[in-house]
Amino acid sequence: MKFSDEFETRFAEMLTHYPTKRSVLVPSLLYAQDETGYLSDEVVRELADRLELTELEVRSVISYYSMLTTKPRGKYNVQVCTNIACMLRGGEELLHHCAKRLAIAPKGTTPDGIFTLEEVECIGACSWAPAIQVNYDFHENLTPEKLDAILDDYKKKGTQ
């Protein structure tokens, strides 16, 4: 199992932050997922070994956190917030617009593997609603037209 040097440096540093190894688990899973796309059996085994945990312990943590996934996703995870503040300003319409445009339902991935669509809970962009996150990037004060332009950009980047 090979992670990037950046991952290894951060992982080693994090281990010095806590009295127990296990404390690095949650952030490490997310950083690992950023590199591998999803938490494969191999990643689970690797982190369990490194942190002296059972695979079951690691899996029980993975299943708790909404950002962690054991299934492959598209290159860009389009997360549309439909919680109250976004809903009042057109979040649901954005989600439907995305679904129609990408021709996938929430949790689906486009056949070219570029986009996954997800309906998410509050992402902390309430005063700039409606908002989405594509992977970790926020896009705020959106309209369907602005969203189209954003998706076009990602599509271009994703096919390069």
């Binding site: 932050h17 806590y18 009295p19 127990t20 296990r22 404390s23 690095v24 688990l25 949650v26 952030p27 899973l29 997310l30 942190l51 029980s60 943590v61 708790y64 956190y65 909404s66 950002m67 962690l68 439909t82 919680n83 109250i84 503040a85 809903m87 009042l88 300003r89 649901e92 319409e93 989600l95 439907h96 679904a99 129609k100 021709a103 996938i104 339902a105 929430p106 949790k107 689906g108 809970e121 509050c122 992402i123 902390g124 962009a125 309430c126 005063s127 700039w128 609603a129 996150q133 970790y136 990037d137 926020f138 705020e140 004060n141």
Partner: protein, 440 residues
């Protein structure tokens, strides 16, 4: 980068460095940064605690507990190390203020956490930032590194002989982890399931050591108190509600945004003056005053001072500072359903009243909104909610039940209008098309 706004009524204490490039440590120092920490090092710990107590600073996460009091509960002597834990797992719907603090002024949180550490005799601070806020974690990691490089953090800070380590920590998506005991579980690398209290974290917290847990805005409020004094800070607000607050104005408003206003600022003025009122000539229907868990207020109830005690008198809560405004085109049943859908999704499943209650409420509200409801469903919603109150380890059960009870109580007629197969009176025709069905 989130958009910054301003209004003449703002009193900038926590947000005074917003937009001034204070992520840069030199700039932060130029703008009075790390002066308060230096001052705290020359003070007796009890004097720091008394100063914070006298300032009237109360928890900005939403519970509104006296910060100085919380610090005073940490035992002086402890066999196990003591910790300071900053709660930056901001995720109460309607709330987006800690995000701005981390983005614009990360050192203020570090400085506040270190002052808390001196006050309680701790040598380690953890700053927990929710996983979705990855760009803020990057900002925070750099800020911590810069503070170490200057000798402001780490060993022998400012030559005082006092050591304080500061660490960042990242979540991975979980509202529940914003509850303090679940936050500690998460930091220990586990599922974010709440712990039973007592013992309280101040006595038995992280890895069994006494732990102070404060919201990011609370900690960012501490350095200004150290420099300006308790009396000045207390005087900005109302009795027993010192200082200012970042209010996140959201929903159907002309000028939504995060504004720093004195505690006790009038809600009506906040909506119509600061927020610019309701757009498109619509009328105000309802206000959720402090994040999705706080009971809704009617237009006739908004002439209220936004401090913890005044809002409590209306039967609601000041909560997290997230003010969500609804105009009269919105359906309350749908709003209640979306609110409960959130809590159902976020319930960790540990306590049965919360796990089962939120699920039943979601199912009942879904059916009711779709026109398939019966009169007794409305009473059932009340009954279920009331039976969740106070029957769970953590406040998530209450957070789901309280707003639901208020929606039904204050808008019962609207719930009844959905009965007997009638379509939702607010459904905008053709606005939302049917979602494609996912092929499994």
């Amino acid at each position: 980068m989130a958009d910054l706004v301003s209004h003449p009524d703002e009193v900038r204490v926590v947000s005074k460095r917003f937009g001034l490039g204070a992520t840069n440590i030199d700039r932060y120092v130029e703008l009075d940064g790390y002066k308060a920490l230096r001052k705290a090092l020359s003070m007796k710990p009890d004097d720091i605690i008394n100063e914070v107590k006298a300032s009237g600073l109360r928890g900005r996460g939403g519970a509104g507990f006296s910060t100085g009091m919380k610090w005073s509960f940490v035992p002086k002597q402890s066999a196990k190390p003591k910790y300071v834990l900053c709660n930056g797992d901001e995720s109460e719907p309607g709330t987006c203020k800690d995000r701005l603090i981390f983005e614009q002024d990360p050192h203020s949180v570090i400085e506040g956490a270190m002052i808390a550490a001196i006050a309680v005799g701790s040598h380690a601070c953890y700053i927990y930032i929710r996983g979705e806020y990855r760009y803020l974690s990057v900002i925070m990691q750099k800020a911590i590194k810069d503070a170490y490089a200057r000798g402001f953090a780490g060993k022998n800070i400012f030559g005082s002989g006092y050591d304080i380590d500061v660490y960042w920590h990242g979540g991975a998506g979980a509202y529940e982890v914003g509850e303090e005991s679940a936050l500690m579980e998460s930091l220990e690398g586990k599922r974010g399931i709440p712990r039973i209290k007592p013992p309280f974290p101040a006595v038995v917290g992280l890895w069994g050591g006494p732990t102070v847990i404060n919201n990011a805005e609370t900690l960012a409020s501490v350095p200004p108190i150290m420099l300006g004094g308790a009396e000045w800070y207390a005087g900005l607000g109302t009795p027993k509600n010192g200082g200012t607050r970042l209010f996140c104005l959201a929903g159907n408003l002309q000028r939504p945004g995060v504004y720093e206003l004195p505690m006790g600022y009038n809600l009506q003025k906040m909506i119509y003056d600061v927020g610019g009122g309701i757009p498109n000539g619509r009328a105000l229907k309802a206000v959720v005053p402090g994040g999705s868990s706080t009971p809704v207020l009617l237009p006739e109830e908004i002439d209220v001072a936004m401090d913890f005690d005044s809002v409590a008198k209306t039967g609601s809560m000041l909560g997290s500072g997230g003010v969500v405004v609804l105009d009269d085109t919105n359906c309350i049943v749908k709003f209640a359903l979306r609110t409960i859908k959130f809590y159902q999704h976020e319930s960790c499943g540990w306590c049965i009243p919360c796990r089962e209650g939120t699920d039943w409420l979601k199912k009942t509200l879904t059916r009711l909104h779709a026109g398939g409801g019966m009169m007794k469903d409305i009473d059932n919603i009340q009954y279920l909610s009331e039976n969740m109150l106070g029957r769970t380890f953590c406040p998530l059960g209450d957070a789901a039940a309280m707003p639901t009870i208020a929606f039904v109580k204050k808008f019962r007629k609207e719930f009844e209008d959905h009965l007997e197969g009638r379509p939702c009176p607010f459904e905008k025709e053709g606005a939302v098309e049917q979602m494609p069905v996912l092929a499994h």
